[in-house]
């Protein structure tokens, strides 16, 4: 499988109350037809990564270094016009909050048709039919009637499915879903995840799913990126990650999740402390001050060390010369 998207050394900087490098030279790639999950705590830069790929960073932020190669072409070198030919057709995104992501003053149909016609030469009628079939495809009942409705009349789950329909309008190569179900109930979440999986299987597109939910990762991902404080701290194939987490943060993350099957005596391991807010100033390992295994050498910058086959971790414990092993 060829790399559909390759992100190299991506650095994103924000200016504002405090000038801040919020993404610190991130590199990763997504293969054709792959389902990639990005996990990490709030504020670690997951959304920023996806927005940078889409070229939709907020006005006070910008990419200050790196390359984003989509099908081998650097999106960063694209003009806004050129980007628009890719955005919405080959490269699409679903946002976290479906409630606010649909324009409240246009009908569902209007917004869907707009997506379709932005990248194809369909006339209005064809586009309408295509839109209806898309709504059907995402499992929404009575698509004809739905076309004429306004977003506020729809429930959260329905809106999120409309968003998906919109994203799929032009058969994208890559779909980025940024926490598409965080605001929804588990039952609805399950519906939407199944839908995503089904659509991916059918069309062979690649998906980047950003989430907090370890359970979702386990169920959906082919490969997982773990982010912490603006960096990728671990990257691995999903089974490898769950069975052999290399980074202490990943290990803790997997331990902190309570399940309904827990025995009553189980005590959750909690990671003490919080994610440092001004993490760009930390030169060494950014997890060090919460890490039970932290040592002096953690103060030096850490590269990603190989921790197995296609498995990388940014932890000195994985450094070859140290040879140290996580003893927990």
């Amino acid at each position: 499988m060829a790399d559909l998207l390759e992100v190299q050394n991506l650095e994103v900087t924000f200016a504002g109350d405090a000038e801040a490098v919020r993404l610190d030279r991130i590199s990763f790639s997504v293969k054709q037809g792959e389902f990639l999950c990005i996990v990490g705590e709030s504020g670690c830069g997951k959304s920023i990564t996806s927005l940078a790929v889409m070229g939709l960073l907020p006005a006070n932020g910008g990419v200050t270094d790196g390359k984003i190669l989509f099908k081998g072409r650097d999106l960063l070198k694209f003009s806004e016009k050129e980007l628009d030919t890719v955005r919405g057709s080959e490269l699409t995104m679903i946002f976290q909050d479906a409630l606010t992501s649909l324009n409240p003053v246009f009908t569902i149909g209007n917004q869907l048709i707009e997506s379709i016609r932005a990248h194809t030469r369909m006339d209005k009628k064809e586009a309408w039919e295509k839109a209806v079939s898309l709504l059907e495809k995402v499992g929404l009942p009575q698509p004809q009637a739905l076309m004429k409705k306004y977003p506020f009349t729809l429930s959260g789950g329905m809106r999120q499915r409309v968003m998906i329909a919109m994203a799929l309008a032009c058969s994208p190569k890559l779909l980025i879903a940024d926490e598409p179900t965080t605001a929804l109930d588990v039952t609805i979440q399950a519906q939407i995840m199944q839908l995503l999986q089904k659509l991916q299987k059918e069309s062979g597109m690649s998906v980047i799913l950003i989430t907090h939910d370890i359970g979702l990762v386990a169920q959906m991902a082919d490969r997982v990126l773990v982010m912490y404080a603006g960096q990728i701290v671990e990257e691995a194939e999903v089974h490898e990650l769950f069975h052999k987490p290399a980074h202490p943060y990943t290990q803790a993350l997997l331990q902190t999740v309570p399940t309904t099957n827990d025995p009553p005596e189980r005590v959750l391991t909690s990671i003490p402390g919080t994610v440092p807010e001004e993490y760009q100033n930390i030169t060494g390992c950014r997890f060090a001050d919460r890490c039970p295994y932290a040592k002096e050498t953690c103060a030096a910058p850490q590269p990603l060390y190989a921790a197995g086959e296609n498995h990388w971790a940014r932890c000195i414990l994985c450094a070859p010369e140290e040879g140290g092993e996580a003893d927990g």
């Binding site: 504002g16 109350d17 200050t64 909690s270 001004e278």
Partner: protein, 324 residues
């Protein structure tokens, strides 16, 4: 109840908290943050400086002014000379001295009218928003009424009831301008009423006055402050308008409005610019500067407004350059 032991390692907690402390010591308190954001608007900073300077000049007028504002010290309507920096007015008073005192009056009128309208608006808005229901209905309908009154009628009636003069104007403007504040405060109160900290105060059984004045009010201060700047600026203009209608500050006291109004003839306009340019420029400068300050204040107060973009863009460009 003895102090409890914990499941967390205190030493690690302590470390995080140390960091927190240094962060707050670095100047992240709300007001500091606001000030920092405010400072990113250069025009606003300059405006603030101008307002401060002019206010200082107005306050210190008795010390700065070369002549008494009411004394007829020179020839009538004489052009500026070394002795009278901005000339003399129609009855030989020093325009410069009068202007200083006029600023004093105009700023006082603006400030006091703002204080009055804000006080009324805040109280009515708080009550209306917090209690809702019939109280809210009555207050809001009353607000509607005041808003649709012919302004001039109010002014004239007030002029007939009270002695004409500066305080009269202050009261009139104060009593006319409050509906905006009331609506603003009501709006904030409506949403603050639903916040969890107000609810938790209720759950904690705190009395109503505590909730209104100690929980809700402090949180409306910022928007009120922003609004107040525009009321301040508008009041100064309104005073000028009232002067035009002959209901302004009483002579021989000078206000920027009545000085300008005194120049209401084409002859003065064309051949005695020293009579209108100083008060005219001053009123425009003051009002514009106050507006700029208010605008920047809004950006600084409102966390959603992207702070200091101008500055940011420059930095970003610099960063780009450094990279390549």
């Amino acid at each position: 109840m003895p102090p409890q032991t914990h499941l967390f390692s205190t030493s690690k907690e302590g470390r995080t908290v140390e960091k927190q402390k240094t962060k707050s010591a670095a100047g992240e308190s709300y007001s500091r943050l606001m000030w920092k954001r405010f400072c990113q608007h250069r025009v606003a900073v300059v405006s603030l400086a101008v307002v401060a300077l002019l206010t200082a000049a107005a306050v210190l007028a008795p010390l700065i002014a070369p002549y008494s504002p009411e004394a007829m010290v020179g020839k009538f309507s004489a052009a500026p000379t070394g002795q009278f920096l901005l000339g003399t007015d129609q009855i030989g008073r020093d325009v410069f001295s009068r202007m200083l005192y006029a600023m004093r009056v105009s700023l006082l009128v603006g400030a006091m009218a703002t204080v009055i309208s804000t006080a009324i608006g805040v109280i009515l808005g708080l009550i209306s928003g917090y209690f809702g229901g019939a109280v809210d209905m009555v207050i809001m309908r009353f607000t509607d009424m005041v808003m649709s009154f012919p302004y001039i009628l109010l002014v004239l009636v007030a002029a007939a009831i009270f002695k004409p003069g500066m305080w009269n104007i202050i009261w009139i403007l104060g009593l006319v301008d409050w509906p905006g504040v009331a609506r603003l405060v009501r709006g904030s109160t409506l949403s603050l009423r639903e916040t969890n900290f107000v609810k938790s105060s209720i759950v904690a059984g705190m009395p109503r006055r505590h909730i209104l004045f100690s929980e809700i009010l402090p949180n409306t201060v910022a928007p009120i402050l922003v609004y107040a700047t525009s009321v301040l600026a508008l009041s100064m203009l309104d005073e000028a308008a009232l002067s035009f209608l002959g209901m302004g500050v009483q002579p021989p006291d000078a206000s920027l409005g009545n000085m300008l109004n005194g120049a209401q003839s084409l002859t003065v306009l064309t051949s005695k610019p020293w009579l209108w340019v100083p008060p005219g420029v001053m009123i425009i400068v003051l009002v514009t500067a106050i507006n700029f300050v208010g605008d920047a204040l809004r950006d600084a107060v409102d966390p959603t407004a992207a702070g200091g973009g101008h500055f940011a863009l420059k930095k970003k460009k610099a960063l780009r350059k450094a990279e390549s």
